[in-house]
């Protein structure tokens, strides 16, 4: 996976999957697939909490549940664009974050997925949130090195 700051407030994450584009796209919009991977490590996303209405203006909501302590992280987004199987755009009204997923057919049943994120969300800017993060200049310096 590669990532970079590509524009003013945008991040890009890219990964190549050994699967045909139609299947990878469906994984991103169908609850029975999303439940398998939407939560990061140690976090589940129960299928009954996933609401997907794949059309412009349709909702995209999940509740991620921490496996260790049961704490819940609801996510709430609205689809802006659905161009199966090439492009998927949603926004998070609470934060303004815009996420664009691009699916590129590499041939031979391989698909490159790029996640572009624009508009940095507000919760991470509050003093409370910042106080919760450890100062991590060393790690950040290492991260900067990966960008160069």
């Amino acid at each position: 996976m590669s990532d970079s700051t590509s524009a003013a407030d945008e991040l890009v994450y890219t990964r190549v999957f050994d699967a045909p584009r139609e299947l990878v796209f469906r994984c991103m919009v169908e609850p029975e697939h999303l439940t398998h991977f939407w939560g990061p490590a140690g976090v589940s996303t129960p299928i009954e909490t996933i609401k997907v209405d794949p059309r412009p203006g349709g909702r995209f909501e999940t509740v991620m549940v921490n496996d260790a302590d049961g704490s819940q992280y609801p996510t709430r987004a609205v689809f802006v664009e659905i161009a199966e199987p090439e492009r998927l755009v949603w926004t998070e009204p609470d934060s303004g974050l815009i996420t664009t997923s691009t699916f590129r057919d590499l041939g031979g049943s391989r698909t490159e997925v790029s996640i572009h994120q624009a508009n940095v969300p507000a919760p991470y800017r509050t003093p409370e949130a910042q106080a919760g993060f450890a100062t991590s200049l060393d790690r950040f310096a290492a991260y900067l090195a990966t960008l160069s």
């Binding site: 524009a7 991040l11 999957f17 994120q117 991590s136 200049l137 991260y143």
Partner: protein, 118 residues
């Protein structure tokens, strides 16, 4: 867009440039003058000063107004705020992609009973 949001947006813009990232990485090791910062780069002092102005405007660095050599200082709070968000977002998508990769393998290994197995 709030003032704070604009500031964080400009922080990301500032860090999108490789020379400015190198300057920030240098200042993470300690304060430095413009001359010291210019040394590793094949750049004129005005060229480096331009980058420093961008970093100063978004609050990533500060400079002493009256000191003779005006050493540049990295403002950790501004950097942490940007770094925390980047790290968290990157972690979530990395782990999500790991799981998706695994899920796609499962699906293609047994396409007829994909959901029953987990």
């Amino acid at each position: 867009m709030t003032v704070v949001q604009e500031q964080l947006d400009s922080t990301f813009a500032a860090l999108a440039d490789p020379t400015r990232r190198a300057i920030v990485a240098r200042l993470a090791r300690g304060d430095a003058t413009v001359n010291e910062l210019a040394a590793p780069f094949a750049m004129t002092l005005p060229g480096v000063s331009k980058h420093l102005k961008v970093l100063e405007r978004c609050g990533l660095i500060s400079r002493t107004r009256h000191a003779q050599f005006r050493p540049c200082h990295l403002e950790r709070a501004a950097l942490d705020s940007a770094a925390s968000w980047i790290e968290e977002s990157r972690r979530v998508w990395t782990e999500r992609f790991d799981k998706l990769d695994e899920h796609l393998r499962d699906l293609q290994a047994k396409p007829s009973q994909d959901e029953a197995t987990q």
